[in-house]
Amino acid sequence: MITLTINGQQHDVDAEPDTPLLYVLREDLQMNGAKFGCGLGQCGACTVMLDGKAVFSCVIPISLLPGREIKTIEGLGTAAVPGVVQQAFIDEQAAQCGYCIAGMVMRAQALLEHNPSPTEEQIRDEMTPNLCRCGTHMRILRAVRRAAQTMKRVAL
């Protein structure tokens, strides 16, 4: 039994210690946000936040995680009450097939939490680990900028 703290809640998980977090999220906890894209830390479809940093859940065995704070897209908001970044993505219609999007949102969330006023260059750099094949990049960048604006307004 391994205890994981996910979106502020504790979960006791009965999975082998070398199981990557991605599989535990999806199979044991039925959470759909983080996705399998490569299992190699190359595409970011599995991105979640760990102690405030964006990480690849596909290469993090759960044995590493007791005592750490894990945040997933499910912890940012719901369809009824989306979080700021989620709402920005909806407003910009920043998705085509949508498979990469949950990872993008988590990467953006981590960026904005530690750098609330990123420059264009910083946004592009920070989002580099995440791939989009449909070519939704322009909208994703607009969504991140929009979320930054909203966060600034809320903070004021």
Binding site: D18, L40, G41, K53, C58, V59, P61, S63, L64
Partner: protein, 418 residues
């Protein structure tokens, strides 16, 4: 008594003053008159082309380009034990670059480490190596740089503390460690070997990283290529003390230097990655010459049997985090990379490079196919790092267990491996 003390003080003062004056006399250099930047078409294309090759071997762009900066426009911070020194703008911009430098001024900088105005340059510019380049090659590098796009950019001020920020002190360093004189061929060696030797010594300055340095940061010429360090990474020995488990043949070295990857040794990482990226644009014959030179110094263990890597079942961190790429039949392995048992970093004397590799991974190069690895700095706590590093060593290497893991990890985290 007071008179005698005063006289001693006075005499001492005169001696000191004399020494200072003598020193100043040695240290002082005249300005070389500024010129108008020569027109690009005043240089022969052949000379410029030769200069481009030499600039690539010499890694000019690597130091003189900032992250997200324009090529050769400087601004990149170079950490040294004496503080941070920012690389200067070497584009032919008149105000902020070398646009007003004549070829004579450039040659003086390359051979003596003196800029156009007579100021000493820090030997982080490897002029102790460039001093051995031929006039023709220095002219080539000059032609190359003067035909780049002039870009306006000023480097930030260095953070070197007093008294080292008094540049005249470098004159003393030069007295001790700068050995002028053009490189000379070794008649007992082949032309290719000599070409490699020249490129390494006079241009590529490989010893700047791969040769141990003394306390004053000068290369120990009694121990050429016995191993050194750069920017937090160990630069392994390139001679008998090489930690490589598989032989470094000419073919393996040539491929590694041109692609940044060797199937039997691992990937170029840390500062070496940029070196191999530059060498990709250098004619293969020149890279092969460098490989011939170093291969002649490397030990020649018998060729390795192709060991089939085994699946890891007894370390959860490795099984969950590493095996997707480093296990058998993984994309890395399909790409020809064999087991981590052959990795130079895993077999090195120190755990330093393995730790750096795990913390930082290898960055994407936009649009380039090539080795990549995610970094685990945010993922692994220190105890978890130590555990997996110990495991790597014990499982994949027959070398003695590392004793420096904690200290290397502390240093690596401090230097930006958070």
């Amino acid at each position: 008594m007071a008179h005698r003390g005063a006289w001693v003080l006075g005499a001492g003062g005169v001696v000191v003053a004399g020494a200072v004056a003598a020193f100043a006399a040695i240290a002082w250099r005249p300005q070389i008159e500024p010129i108008s930047p020569p027109a690009s078409n005043s240089f022969s294309p052949e000379v410029v082309k030769n200069g481009a090759v030499l600039a690539a071997v010499g890694d000019c762009a690597v130091c003189h380009t900032a992250a997200h900066g324009r090529p050769f426009a400087g601004g990149r911070p170079l950490p040294t034990p004496f503080g941070i020194i920012y690389a200067t703008n070497i584009t032919p911009d008149v105000d902020t670059g070398i646009g007003a430098w004549s070829e004579q001024a450039f040659r003086r900088a390359m051979r003596q480490g003196i800029d156009r105005t007579g100021r000493h340059l820090y030997p982080v510019l490897p002029y102790p190596h460039f001093t051995r380049a031929t006039d023709e090659d220095i002219a080539g590098m000059y032609a190359f740089l003067m035909t780049r796009a002039p870009l306006r950019a000023e480097a930030p001020p260095n953070t070197v503390p007093f008294p080292l920020n008094v540049r005249a002190t470098i004159a003393g360093w030069n007295l001790l460690f700068l050995r002028p004189g053009v490189w000379r061929a070794d008649p007992s060696q082949t032309a290719e070997w000599n070409r490699g030797s020249y490129l390494v010594d006079a241009v590529g300055h490989c010893g700047a990283c791969h040769t141990p340095h003394n306390a004053l940061e000068a290369e120990k010429d009694t121990k050429p290529f016995a191993g050194g360090e750069a920017e937090g990474w160990d630069a392994p020995a390139l001679q008998a003390a090489s930690p490589a488990v598989a032989p470094w043949t000419v073919e393996a070295l040539t491929a590694y230097l041109r692609t940044g990857f060797s199937t039997e040794h691992g990937a170029a990482a840390g500062p070496m990655a940029a070196v191999t990226q530059e060498l990709a644009a250098v004619p293969e014959s020149d890279v092969r010459a460098i490989a011939i030179y170093f291969a002649s110094m490397m030990p020649h263990p018998p060729p390795m049997a192709q060991a089939q890597p085994a699946i890891v079942t007894d370390n959860p961190t490795f099984a969950g985090a590493c095996e997707g790429c480093h296990g058998p039949d993984a994309p890395m392995t399909r790409g020809g990379a064999q087991s981590l048992a052959l990795s130079s970093a895993v077999n090195a004397r120190s755990s330093r490079d393995a730790i750096q590799m795990i913390l930082h991974g290898l960055a994407w190069r936009e649009g380039h196919a090539g080795p990549y690895m995610p970094g685990f700095a945010s993922v692994l706590s220190d105890p978890q790092m130590i555990d997996v590093v110990r495991y790597l060593r014990s499982h994949f290497s027959s070398g003695a267990p590392w004793t420096d893991i904690e200290s290397q990890l502390r240093a690596a985290r401090r230097d930006g491996g958070a």
